[in-house]
């Protein structure tokens, strides 16, 4: 705590990627800004200071500024991180900022993660396929607290896109669901309220866009700001898919399994 408070007043040098696709005169380039470090300064504070005092055209995204909304993923010295929770004290004096790769660029540090995640949700039908319609007069279905906690663990993903940006495969294969997508899928696979069975999951999870697209680079787990157990998720999916493929009767489900 104390070393962050007493951070000897450093002069920080920011090298920031700039490009505004809406401006025909704009070319991708790097701009350099210098500001003084303050105690407990986060990249959220630093970027706002730059925008408010040095270049008010700078584009970036923050919303919750408390590491829960997932808006502010960016490449910090080559590593995808949440800007709002990255303390400058943990970084060298020169800080290189780039937008997350693998997503469509909106401008400068701002990328379109929203569209990516919505498409992912549509592709994997990431909602509960319930057994019965909602009955407003009934008490809730029971669920053991252990299962609830396990589901919550998977549900904690904030869709920041850091894992997607860090994954070499996701960067070259736009169809790849990546850790965030497969984590979401496994969360529904685990949920007893969802009626989809292994056969339904098979093609979502097993193809090259799914778990077998992953080559085990393990970057996703290392950069995930929520520290989700992504490798455990992958291993769980692999084993479960293997089980369903070779332990089941191997019969093809009917082609129209639309739910």
């Amino acid at each position: 705590m104390s070393d962050k408070e007493n951070a000897a007043a450093r002069r920080l040098r920011f090298e920031i990627f700039r490009f505004n696709p809406e401006d025909p005169n704009s070319e991708p380039h790097i701009d350099v800004f210098e500001i003084d470090e303050r105690p407990y300064m986060t990249l959220y504070m630093a970027l706002n200071e730059i925008r408010e005092t040095l270049d008010s055209g700078l584009q970036f995204d923050f919303a919750c500024r408390s590491a829960i909304c997932g808006s502010c993923g960016m490449m910090v010295n080559g590593r995808p991180s949440l800007g709002c929770r990255t303390l400058t004290a943990d970084l060298p004096e020169t800080i290189r900022l780039h937008p997350l790769p693998a997503f469509k660029l909106i401008g400068d540090l701002s990328v379109d993660t929203g569209t990516w995640f919505r498409e992912m949700a549509e592709r994997t039908e990431a909602w509960i396929h319930e057994q019965q319609p909602f009955n407003k007069d009934a008490t809730e279905e029971r669920m053991s607290d252990d299962i609830a906690q396990a589901i919550y663990e998977g549900d904690r993903c904030i869709e920041c896109g850091c894992c997607v940006a860090s994954c070499g495969v996701a960067n070259v294969n736009p169809d790849f669901l990546a850790a965030a997508g497969l984590n979401r899928v496994s969360r529904f696979m685990m949920d007893p309220r969802d009626k989809r069975d292994d056969a339904d999951w098979f093609e979502v999870v097993a193809g090259q866009q799914g778990v077998f697209g992953c080559v085990g680079l393990m970057a996703c787990a290392d950069v995930c700001p929520k520290e989700l157990p992504l490798l455990e998720v992958y291993a769980y999916l692999r084993r479960r898919i293997l089980g369903s493929k070779f332990l089941s009767d191997r019969s093809d489900p009917p082609p129209d399994i639309n739910t």
Binding site: P39, M143, Q149
Partner: protein, 646 residues
Amino acid sequence: MTPQLITTDVLVIGGGLAGERCAIEAAAAGQEAMILSLVPPRRSHSCAAQGGMQAALGNCVKAEGDSPQVHFQDTVRGSDWGADQEVARIFAEEAPVAVRELAHYGVPWTRVRGGKNKYFIKGESVEIEELLENDGLITHRDFGGTAKWRACYAAAGTGHAALYAVDSQVVRLGITVRDRVEAIALIHDGSRCFGVVARCLRTGKQFCVLAKATVIATGGYGRIYGRYTTNATINYGTGAAIALDTGVVPLGNMEAVQFHPTALSPSGILITEGCRGDGGYLLDKNLHRFMVDAEPEKQELASRDVVSRHMMQCILDGNGVDSPNGRHLWLDIRHLGEKHLTTKLLEVFDICRDFAGINPANDMIPVRPTQHYSMGGVRVNKDGEAYGMAGLYAVGEAACWDMHGFNRLGGNSLAETLVAGRVVGARVAEYASGTTLQADTELAFAALAAAEKRAQNLLAREGNGRSVYEIRDALGEIMITKVGIFRTGDDLKSAVDEIKALIEECSHAVLRHKGPGANPELAFALRFPGMLRLALTVAMGALARAESRGAHFRSDFPLRNDREWLNRTLARWKPDASAPTLSYEPVGLIDLAPGHRGYGSDERIEMNKTVSQYNESVADLQAREGRLASVEAIGSRLQQTQGVAR
């Protein structure tokens, strides 16, 4: 390319819990719904809610005997009798359905574990045997100002889990969501709303969206307090501001601003009330539990307004802990143990680690009261219809549906967003199916042209002077120092003057960046005048209200005054006026008669009429304020419960 004009049946401004739930209801009823949002819906500030959602399920031992009736009473007491009790009743009755519906949508609510459980209650560790027959039902945690344990929760990520579940239904129903789009003006003819003028935050282009019904669900306006707020940086309150701009639609109780006792000092990031609910306590610089002296009964779990005031008083009395960033107090949750902290309070654990560099299992957390919630907002009736403007609705924190009165209870807001989303959504769908789209393009293009002109004027301005950002910081300082927890007439007067001066200054503030595209500075300059107007409305409402009620505390009028002020402030901003006009309406029909809240001061100025006399005057006064007829007959939910014991 976005065309200049798009149409839909139901337009929802805001992709938080309230907006999305409302859109689901409309879409399920066969209306085409469209959601506009500043950010992808899952990044709305609803995701930040940690602690819980109130609903009287009564599943755990400490919740036994709970019912909507008790929830209703807690809510009204919490509101310091400022709430519309009919709405509070609808709310308390529907909240259990809302929680169960979320379970159905997939929220992993924390469940009852039958058998022995260890809890911390009033600072002491106790063991309670949960009934085996309740094993697996949704469990509860304690929250401030409630008679029973009632807050349903998913670890410390309740809002996150709820928002993701609700958004998954939005995806499922294929509801169009346009994220990074900001509504900047309502299209209306003075009595009916036709949609909005919106600005795309990717390209900077402006366009019109026309709809049969328009719903404002833009959340709170905490950012008028600058950085002294727990709210997200996107909580500008634009929805309320554009409603105010119509000149017709009033905002209700804008002076009712909640301060949360435990925001991390200095960053202002919220530490959930669940910490105290689970047994954490507050300490001053001598490590003394001052809340035990101040509120022997509820201790740390009195309502937020009360705890915040005691904390501020403690700091003012010189018992705050000194730090380079001002004085703070300690929140101590070390005794809950690392296991509890990394499961049931996981998000709190992370926040402490990331933003204060501490481990709450070993260190105390520096906290101070900080702006948190906007009880005020677009005044709507029971059905969510805005006063004075057909086809315009509001839900969630942006609305003053008014179940919170002058103080919202923790956990009641998430519940409100979903209950109101359901109730109002159904009304919106009904309204939309009974009307046709009036594509009055002339009106729309006039509004669009006006908005374009505004942007061009801003860009064309020359000169120097303070930037909009500097003016914003100045506003934040005024609001926190003069319109904060303890308010006085003198402070408020000077706040009003200073805000007016800022409005003047802002009207010729010059932009530094004039480039094309999204232009974040232009975006801010377009919405900031609205924030200033909201701030002035708050300050003027606070200045006029010469009493103390709930979160509104006047040091010069420290008592609640039910004789003169058992009413709701309505603020309208007439076209071209330099300040809002205030008027008042009764709080609504009274069911639970005004009395002592059970915490805080027991002194007050009593009503000088009976409850039935008050109630008689309500209906016609409301009619005079232009209130639209509601689907439910007025008073149909009332049960005359004054005699019922807690």
